[in-house]
């Protein structure tokens, strides 16, 4: 039977009192966003651009709350300076869950360059990155990276591969 990995992520977030859910919608995050929206203890913050997430979650931490940023790989490109100049400059904890585009059977060539650069960009900023290729890895990986973020003041990213989430279907 298939593992419902978005539900597994939701359960990890819920169990660990993740309160501010910052997101720029992505098809790969659709179910997770819906699970979170139905939880009254989770404050959903829809961003106009992903870099707003660095400020939001820094502010959340200053006030004693934990959060997560949900986005797709192109959004990582939008975040670079905020990741460096806020998150890293102040050692803020950060958990990002990134759905990948531009790799597994990608239909849109405009998605490929940023998809290929995503992991390198995060590594260049000294951010802890782990990729998930299989559904059974997701729950433990999110839990572990959340721990690294909130117990050890690290910036972390979980990359959910396009093979895992399924390539986006365009009508043919």
């Amino acid at each position: 039977m298939d593992i419902n990995w978005p539900l597994k992520i939701y359960e990890v977030l819920k169990k660990n009192n993740i309160r501010q859910i910052a997101y720029v919608p992505d098809a790969g995050h659709k179910s997770l966003i819906e699970f979170c929206q139905n939880n009254k203890n989770m404050n959903m913050v829809s961003l106009t651009t992903e870099e707003e997430g660095m400020g939001l979650l820094a502010g959340a931490w200053l006030g004693g709350e934990k959060g997560v940023l949900l986005m797709q790989s192109s959004g990582v490109g939008n975040c670079i300076n905020a990741l460096a100049s806020i998150t890293r400059a102040c050692n803020f904890p950060l958990l990002m869950i990134v759905t990948m585009r531009g790799e597994w059977n990608e239909f849109n060539p405009w998605q490929v360059p940023m998809g290929k650069a995503t992991e390198k960009v995060l590594s260049a900023l000294d951010i802890n990155v782990v990729r998930c290729e299989k559904a059974e890895e997701v729950q433990d990986t999110v839990y572990a990276m959340m721990g690294l973020a909130y117990k050890s003041n690290c910036a972390t990213a979980v990359l959910l591969s396009q093979r895992l989430i399924g390539s986006k279907a365009f009508k043919e």
Binding site: N43, E51, E52, G55, A60, L62, A89, C90
Partner: protein
Amino acid sequence: MQNYFLNRRYVVTQLLKNRNNSLIINGLGGTCWDVASLGDNELNFYVWGGMGNSCMIGLGLALSQPKRKVIVITGDGEMLMGIGSLATIAVKHPKNLSIVVFDNELYGETGNQKTHTGYCADLSGIAIGAGIKNSSIIKTNDQLLSLSLNINLINELTFSQIKINNEEGPLVLPIREGAYIKTRFRKAVLGEAILLE
């Protein structure tokens, strides 16, 4: 060229003279020195980088501390770089957040180049358009004194664009070490035990 009456150091003094235990986030550059000119305070989070994100730090803080007043004091250039954040903030509409923009129509830290507000951009109009209905533009001392009387009491999301002249005060630089500013602020807001979590 603009010819406004209000001086930025006078404005910041009026705004924060009754701050009580409000939490203050500043923007980069001029507004950082303005807040610092009133003396150091553990409840100031001095932002030195990440231009465009000051209002978002204010939003995250306001949502996590709904019983505390949060005031963001930033400049026109910094606000313009994060202009979309006004739409994000309007959707959440935290009642304990006030955004104040010191608008001198200049990028002051980089050689006084004109910003968009010096041409045609209407920041308070943009804030209203984003959904922050309680938005105003302040040009006179009476308007400023009215804002400073109310800013700590008002239980509503507000946006105030204060037109200031380009007189600068003495340069007062606050502490710069980000991790220290962060940890000191958390300790002051959340108590010393937070450091052991």
